[in-house]
């Protein structure tokens, strides 16, 4: 059931695409093998047949389901089908909280399921009659206070992270009371969602930072540098993104940054992105970090795909920005910008 392969096959229209480096998963799924759900169905059937004679078989059904989920969760985490790669310190903090909650809830889940299954396996009480017990104050008190304590702990432990992400503390990524004057950002851009793409507009680094970035977000300047579906920054940059939309609600989702923010029609939402890690390898190849839309925005909602490139340093980023600027101010057709491939080259494919 568990494969050792390091690639996962995905069938797309142009035939089967091999994704190199994809983590191994519970099973290798091929076109003809739809047997696993059938096998699980078979197990349920067997449990039912056995239960016709031994009613405790129902405990096995609950136990089997519990085991399936546990196996699934552990194997997912082990094989990398889990939280996406983390791209910032805040993302690490979010992951820490996630795993804390995961651990606490798992304990509770195993506890309750354990009690349930254990109860099912118990022999009938003596004489076939259970005691007529209506409750127990002490027990009620225990299982009121213990969860309350844990939940309050969860509520408190997350507050600093939330404040860092969205609160009033300096550098919060979505300051509730945004102060243009004290903006710590070193890169400013607007991201405008529309059906169905992201239009990026970078503030030109040659120009002084605008006095009021919120105003700049609504009034383009001639020096701005434009891009579609591509968010570029450099490692260590604090990126101020002004999120806008022209038509419906979109949600700007960067999985690697654990970042998600709706764009509201009629509003400019300032958000700060900490870019602590780069997705450019030492050899210059790029790990793909994608942008997705997380709020239904019409039929082609799924098409709002973009990519994030966090360059290794500011110079690399400026190279990209200057290239972008140069191609945007072309006064004559440059041969390099849009090469028409040579026929020989095309035929070799």
């Amino acid at each position: 059931m568990i494969t050792e392969g390091t690639s996962t096959k995905v069938s797309g229209l142009p035939g089967t695409v091999e994704i190199a480096g994809a983590p191994p998963y519970l099973f290798e799924w091929s076109e003809s093998a739809h047997w696993l759900p059938l096998a699980i169905t078979g197990l349920a059937l067997i449990a039912w047949i056995v239960s016709l004679r031994f009613k405790r078989a129902w405990a096995a059904l609950f136990g089997f389901t519990l085991a399936l989920m546990a196996l699934w969760t552990l194997q997912s985490a082990r094989s990398g089908l889990w939280l996406p790669e983390s791209a910032s310190l805040i993302a690490d903090e979010v992951d820490g909280l996630f795993h804390l909650v995961m651990a606490l809830t798992s304990i509770f889940y195993l506890l309750t399921q354990g009690v349930l299954i254990w109860t099912l396996l118990q022999p009938a009480p003596p004489g076939g009659r259970a005691a007529r017990v209506h409750g127990n104050h002490l027990l009620e008190l225990v299982w009121f206070t213990v969860p309350t304590g844990l939940l309050v702990y969860i509520a408190l432990v997350q507050l600093p992270t939330w404040a860092k992400m969205k609160g009033q503390v300096p550098g919060a990524y979505l300051a509730a009371g945004y102060q243009p004057a004290s903006d710590p950002a070193d890169l400013l851009l607007t991201v405008t969602g529309r059906q169905w793409e992201w239009r990026m507009r970078y503030h030109s680094p040659d120009q002084p930072m605008p006095v009021n970035p919120l105003f700049w977000a609504a009034t383009p300047a001639a020096e701005d540098i434009h891009a579609v579906n591509e968010l570029h920054a450099w490692q260590g940059a604090k990126v101020r993104m002004m999120l806008r939309t022209t038509d419906v609600i979109h949600s700007f989702f960067l999985p690697q940054f654990r970042f998600k923010q709706d764009m509201l029609p009629g509003k400019t939402i300032p958000a700060l992105l900490h870019t602590d890690r780069s997705n450019i390898e030492a050899d210059g190849t790029e790990r793909v970090w994608e942008i997705a839309c997380a709020e239904l925005c019409g039929g082609n909602h799924y098409r709002m795909r973009g990519k994030v490139v966090i360059h290794r340093d500011k110079k690399e980023f400026m190279d990209w920005l200057n290239r972008q600027k140069a191609s945007q101010s072309e006064r004559k057709e440059s041969a390099a910008a849009l090469p028409t491939p040579k026929p020989e080259a095309r035929e070799n494919q």
Partner: protein, 460 residues
């Protein structure tokens, strides 16, 4: 203890259960087996059924307002109200030779273009066409890749045959392009010059123009950027789009020549009323021949031709179209050098001169700098709005050279003429206009007096 809760051990019960589960499994397998990635052979390109629009001279303006969402065809009714003739392919049925004509047209299209599952350009037994197709990267393998990608990325707007009427299309404005007329808005080639004749003079896009649109999308329309697809897929999409455009245009002319009622054709038919089909096919042939050789002798060609006349004509036309596309790069417009240095800010005088040219050349359509543009019909029978130039949204690209192309060659399919610059240095004039257009949306870039005039007094 209640009697109903008993654990029955009857074998019959378990047997029944197995039977039910077996049926479940069968049903599931039947459904799971439906994953077939191939496009079945039964899928063919539909022959055009909607009305053909042929605007020799577009009506000046359209009624205010676009057709409401879901009713794009309403603009055709508006055209009909303005006495513009529309050619309905169904009218062919009324003519005695119509069904034969249609069948012949269809067989030519199938032979030379295949089906969505197996697209090609040029039948294998015609090496001349195959060579041209190869030059345009229209090999069957490339087209098949393009067809698959098209089905995934484009079809829901542009439709199976590139008719611009996919499931999503009716709710978009501007409408997705109908490729089947072989007309393009945002390209960089000059128009052909023909001495005479009935053929409209169409500019063909360079491959680079198509790739630019695929890479950057058309800002301000619903055409998104496809830059994140694999480069091979983008190339294949450009090829497949050409395939659809050429197929569609051949179909367009094949139908239009059967239906069009221009004076010369009517005269020829009057002379020989019982041979209407032949007369119309000959008109098509003369159109096809004219491009390469204006003096070509149609009579001689017809005399030489042994097979069906329409087929021969369409194949000549196909060759002509392929040649036009293949030579598009040669027809590329070379922008005049910008007389102002690139490393210095644009002088305010240039912008002021641009405004003067704008007020003569452009203001008729782009009223109030495009804020109050009146709507117009385009060559597809749709309604377009001359751009609002006070907001920095440029459908055809925001590079200065893109604006240069728009100004210097116009956008003929939607009635935008090229700027008519007569006196003075043309390089200065065109670039002045471009500089003005580039500064127009940004109040800070405009000279004080002009800013007042356009954006009101307040300086932000």
């Amino acid at each position: 203890m209640p009697s109903m809760i008993r654990n029955s051990t009857k074998a019959a019960d378990s047997l029944r259960g197995c039977l039910v589960a077996g049926l479940l499994c069968l049903g599931c397998m039947a459904l799971a087996g439906c994953g077939v990635t191939e496009i079945p052979d039964s899928v063919v390109y539909p022959l055009r059924s909607n009305a053909l629009v042929f605007l020799e001279k577009a009506p000046a303006t359209a009624p205010p307002g676009f057709p409401p969402p879901g009713k794009p065809e309403m603009s055709l009714d508006w055209l009909a109200e303005q006495q513009v003739p529309l050619f309905k392919p169904s009218d062919l049925d009324a003519k005695p030779w119509g069904p034969v004509w249609r069948e012949e047209l269809n067989s030519v299209l199938v032979r030379h273009f295949g089906s969505p599952g197996k697209p090609r350009v040029g039948a294998a037994d015609q090496p001349a066409l195959a060579t041209l197709a190869a030059e345009l990267f229209l090999s069957p393998a490339e087209l098949e890749r393009g067809s698959h990608q098209y089905r995934r990325s484009c079809l829901h707007c542009h439709g199976v045959a590139g008719e611009g009427a996919g499931a999503t299309s009716a709710w978009l404005n501007p409408l997705p392009r109908d490729f089947r007329q072989g007309e393009y808005k945002f390209i960089s080639t000059a128009e052909h010059k023909l001495k005479s004749g009935f053929q409209p003079l169409k500019a063909r896009p360079r491959r680079a123009d198509l790739l630019r649109t695929l890479h950057h999308g058309l800002e301000g329309t619903s055409m998104p950027s496809f830059a994140l697809l694999a480069e091979e897929d983008i190339q294949a999409l450009a090829s497949y789009t050409l395939h659809l455009a050429i197929r569609g245009e051949l179909e367009y002319w094949g139908l239009l020549y059967a239906l069009k009622e221009d004076a010369e054709t009517l005269r020829a038919i009057e002379k020989n009323p019982e041979k209407e089909a032949q007369v119309r096919a000959q008109r098509l042939i003369s159109g096809a021949l004219e491009w390469e050789d204006p003096e070509a002798d149609v009579e001689e060609f017809v005399a030489r031709e042994k097979g069906p006349l329409l087929t021969a004509g369409l194949e000549r036309l196909l060759e002509r179209l392929l040649r036009e596309y293949a030579t598009a790069d040669k027809n590329a417009m070379v922008p005049l050098a910008n007389p102002y240095p690139a490393d210095q800010p644009v002088p305010q005088t240039s912008i002021a001169n641009g405004l003067k040219i704008f007020q003569v050349q452009c203001v008729n359509c782009h009223a109030g700098y495009g804020r109050q543009s009146a709507l117009r019909f385009d060559n597809w029978g749709g309604v377009v709005r001359p751009a609002n130039l006070t907001i920095p949204v440029y459908k055809g690209g925001r590079r200065p050279v893109d604006l240069y192309y728009r100004v210097a060659r116009g956008i003929p399919p939607c009635g935008m003429p090229k700027a008519n610059l007569q006196d003075g240095d043309p390089a200065h004039q065109v670039w002045d206009l471009v500089h003005f257009l580039m500064a127009l949306p940004y109040p800070e870039s405009l000279p004080e007096t002009i800013r007042r005039q356009i954006h009101g007094g307040a300086k932000q």
